[in-house]
């Protein structure tokens, strides 16, 4: 038995999904797409039930990856029962998607979630009328309070019905649908899509295109608009018959603060600053504990084993990679994810997008791009993955360049460990400043030269609500799992390679080869090139390797302040880490991945050389 949850973004699907399945979630990547499908199993009355959380969508007719995925899922009858989740406060809008799902005639139950908020707004929902109009059973729930969530499964298994809701389309559309069905024998939902120019069947598209043109001539309106209007009209009609507006409780509208330029923008800056600061403080504290424990209880005993040198080298590399992965992944990225999920779950991110829209336009992007950028402060890998929300190739390309320059938490470690510790806090902030200036410069340059068109932001502002600790943790856990899945194997492989590299004494050769660059151009000691090389593997390793190679943790005693500063800025700018390059390659192709890497090497060396020249 398979049940799929379907609904608009922000209708509370994930919360319901989490409450139904607990924490035992698997994330499956749908074949051929980067969209994640969350699946979970539950046992109900001794039967195994698989629950799938489909991505939140507004429509089934579009061409975004999410919409294509859900459409394919419905077409193939991917689930035995669809649980359609509505936001009770936005019933009319949710019904629009429902009218489209109904075209596929699956078995459905309807769940009106957030009934608590609807009650607060004084909305009175007549379940019986709604159930009769939709032709499927309707359940009222409030996932944030856990109210009636336990009734979803029994209802889905016991009383789901094949939905029979039919949208009364304009009679020309109906006639066209019937004639297509008769001449080509294609199902109604396919014909509807074909009339709107979507589909793969060329014969159907051709015939539908001709009819659509005819209809457009008659109506002086695109078929798409006619169909959307018909669906919205039916939705409004149903919503009007089932919902009454009672007394509305007055609540304070926080948006009057959050979405005004003042105090909205200062609040936005404060929130971001606080997020980074707390990640930094909590992260360093946790990192120290983890690294110390790991070294004392695992690495030291391992070295004490005195294995044959080659074996020891390999084993040591694996352990160092594990230590590094855990030492950076948990303290910094996990803390960051918790903070990020917290902010996301309050619904604040959409306000940030709105406020940032103007500034982002200057950078050739739009408001929605702020989300990947903020994620980039935690880790570049998920930030690149979240580029999916941008619609055009141009936007994705520009944003990818910028994201790979945003100082991620690993780079924060480098800045903190080298500059803040040995040169001074103010100098550390100056590195951030330089990086931001470079980001803006890069963006302005790219927005001039990148081909393609700009799309612009259309974002629904999510309702502000109190985040749920359980959901925040579950979300952060899912994300960190994804990170570990991508980054860990790479960390281990590269660590072994570098270990072997050192073992066979290639390091010296490498250092001599690069001496003209490191010593002459950047004014650094020879061994800095190895440290920089390790930085490609993962950024904060540049700092740790430097300490190892210098033979002391007190870097101030072996390098001048200028050298340390140059080293830090070069390693911060220089080549995104291996995991980033891999994920860039997967999301945007080899060309962009190479371009970004080359650009960052060039930029790192250029800025390093300039600083070296200025100081000496």
């Amino acid at each position: 038995m398979k049940i799929a949850l379907l609904g608009n973004p922000g209708a509370g699907k994930s919360l319901i999904f989490n409450q139904l399945t607990g924490l035992g979630i698997e994330v499956n990547r749908y074949p051929g797409s980067s969209v994640c499908l969350e699946c979970g199993n539950v046992c109900y009355k001794k039967e195994k039930i698989e629950i799938v959380d489909l991505p939140g969508i507004y429509s089934l007719d579009g061409s975004s990856e999410e919409e294509l995925l859900v459409r394919k899922f419905l077409e193939q009858g991917g689930a035995d029962v669809i649980v359609a989740i509505f936001d009770a406060t936005k019933l009319e809008r949710s019904l629009y998607l429902f009218t489209q799902v109904a075209e596929f005639s699956p078995r459905i139950i309807a769940v009106l979630n957030m009934i608590d908020e609807a009650e607060q707004q004084g909305l009175i929902i007549d379940v019986d009328t709604l159930s009769t109009r939709l032709g499927v059973p309707v359940l009222l729930t409030a996932a944030s309070e856990g109210r009636d969530i336990d009734r979803i499964l029994p209802l889905a298994l016991g009383s789901s019905r094949v939905v029979s809701l039919e949208v009364p389309y304009d009679h020309h559309i109906e006639a066209a649908l019937k004639s297509l069905e008769k001449t080509l024998g294609t199902p109604r939902y396919k014909n509807l899509l074909a009339l709107q120019g979507t589909g793969e069947d060329h014969m159907l598209l051709d015939s539908a295109g001709a009819v659509a043109h005819e209809i457009e001539l008659r109506h002086r309106m695109s078929v798409r608009q006619i169909i959307a209007t018909n669906r919205h009209n039916l939705s409004r009609n149903i919503a009007a018959s089932a919902v009454r507006q009672g007394d509305r409780k007055k609540t304070y509208d926080l948006d009057s603060l959050l979405t005004r330029v003042f105090p909205g923008v200062p609040i936005l800056c404060a929130i971001l600053f606080f997020l980074l600061l707390s990640v930094f403080v909590i992260g360093s504290w946790m990192q120290e504990i983890i690294v110390q424990t790991f070294t004392t209880y695992i690495i030291v005993p391992f070295v004490a084993l005195e294995l044959p040198p080659l074996l020891e080298r390999i084993g040591f590399s694996v352990l160092v990679a594990l230590e590094a992965g855990l030492g950076i992944a948990f303290p910094f990225i996990f803390t960051f994810y918790v903070g990020l999920s917290l902010i996301e779950d309050t619904g604040y991110m959409t306000r940030a997008a709105f406020l940032a829209d103007r500034a982002m336009h200057r950078l050739g992007l739009h408001g929605e791009a702020i989300i990947p950028m903020v994620i980039g402060f935690g880790c570049t890998v998920p930030a690149v993955m979240s580029l999916r929300i941008l619609k055009t190739r141009r936007e994705k390309t520009i944003a990818a360049f910028l994201i790979s320059m945003v100082p991620c938490s690993a780079r924060t470690v480098v800045i903190a460990g080298i500059v803040a510790a040995f040169v001074g806090i103010a100098w550390a902030f100056s590195i951030y400043l330089i990086v931001f200036v470079l980001i803006i410069f890069t963006a302005i340059l790219l927005s001039r030269i990148t081909p393609g068109e700009q799309f612009g932001m259309i974002v629904e502002m999510s309702v502000l609500r109190r985040p749920q600790a359980r959901l925040v943790l579950a979300k952060s856990w899912l994300r960190i799992k994804e990170f570990l899945f991508i980054a860990m194997p790479l960390l281990i492989i590269v660590s072994i390679l570098l270990g072997l590299f050192q073992f066979y004494g290639l390091t010296d050769l490498f250092e001599q080869l690069l001496a003209p660059i490191t010593v002459t151009l950047l004014g650094l000691p020879e061994y800095a090139s190895t440290a920089l090389l390790f930085g490609i593997f993962r950024k904060e390793l540049a700092f740790e390797t430097l300490a190892v190679l210098a033979g002391t943790a007190d870097l101030g005693s072996v390098m001048t302040a200028a050298q340390l500063y140059t080293f830090a800025i070069v390693s911060v700018l220089f080549v995104p880490c291996i995991s980033t390059i891999a994920v860039l390659y997967r999301q945007l192709g080899a060309r962009i991945a190479i371009l970004i890497s080359v650009y960052s090497v060039f930029l790192g060396l250029l800025i390093g050389a300039i600083i070296n020249m200025l100081i000496s």
Binding site: G62, R220, A353
Partner: protein
């Protein structure tokens, strides 16, 4: 047979013939009207007796000269009325279409002629294919938008204004806007506006943030 039913038949047959390039069969009409074929056949018989149609050997329905002129006339009335209702009065297009279906039977030839002339005067000349493509999403043939007055977009209004959507001009942004309920005839409110930049639009009880270039594609008028 009622005169309005007769006209509906002749209109449907003429429209079918024009669209498909061949005469309809009874089952085609059954599909159009959504009636059982037996009922269609008996009603077609009445039409044949009144001299509006002839029925060929393969049961194809062919309009007589008289029948065709009635059919064409009704189609013209329908189109004129529907255009008037949707484009000038701003009714939603399907309501306009079904309303036109009722009115077309009672409206006099003179009224339609005068209405047609009035529409011709106000709307941009020509209805070429290029024009159609330009305005395909909009459904807007320039009834009000000529050189002297450009339609106003969301950007021309202020925070708190209550507006009605007239049309959406942008091809690429149209889809998502339609899904969110920004359809012609929909009442919307501007909730927040950053000067000449991004704005928040309230539609169907939801707040939607739009970039200025998107907002510029939504043509609106004040709700009164």
């Amino acid at each position: 047979m009622q005169p309005s039913l007769r006209e509906d038949y002749l209109e449907a047959i003429q429209h079918f013939t024009m669209t498909n390039g061949h005469s309809p069969l009874p089952q085609d009409l059954a599909a159009v009207f959504g009636k059982p074929e037996s009922e269609i056949r008996s009603e077609l018989d009445d039409l044949r007796l009144s001299g509006d149609i002839t029925i060929a050997a393969d049961t194809a329905i062919i309009l007589t000269k008289a029948g065709r002129s009635v059919g064409e006339c009704v189609i013209k009335k329908h189109e004129t009325l529907q255009f008037f209702l949707s484009e000038i009065l701003g009714m939603d297009s399907s309501t306009a279409s079904s309303e036109a279906c009722t009115l077309e039977h009672s409206v006099s030839d003179e009224t339609v002629d005068r209405l047609g002339n009035y529409l011709k005067k106000t709307r941009m000349s020509g209805d070429t294919i290029a024009d159609r493509q330009k305005t395909a999403v909009c459904g807007y043939t320039g009834t009000i938008c000529d050189e002297s007055c450009t339609p106003s977009s969301l950007l021309d209004f202020n925070e708190g204004d209550e507006l009605v959507v007239r049309c959406i001009l942008g091809q690429s942004s149209a889809k998502r806007l339609l899904d969110l309920g920004v359809v012609p005839g929909e009442k919307v409110t501007i909730r927040r506006k950053q000067g000449k930049d991004a704005l928040v639009l309230q539609v169907k009880g939801c707040d939607v943030a739009l970039s200025p270039e998107i907002a510029a594609t939504v043509s609106v008028e004040r709700y009164s």
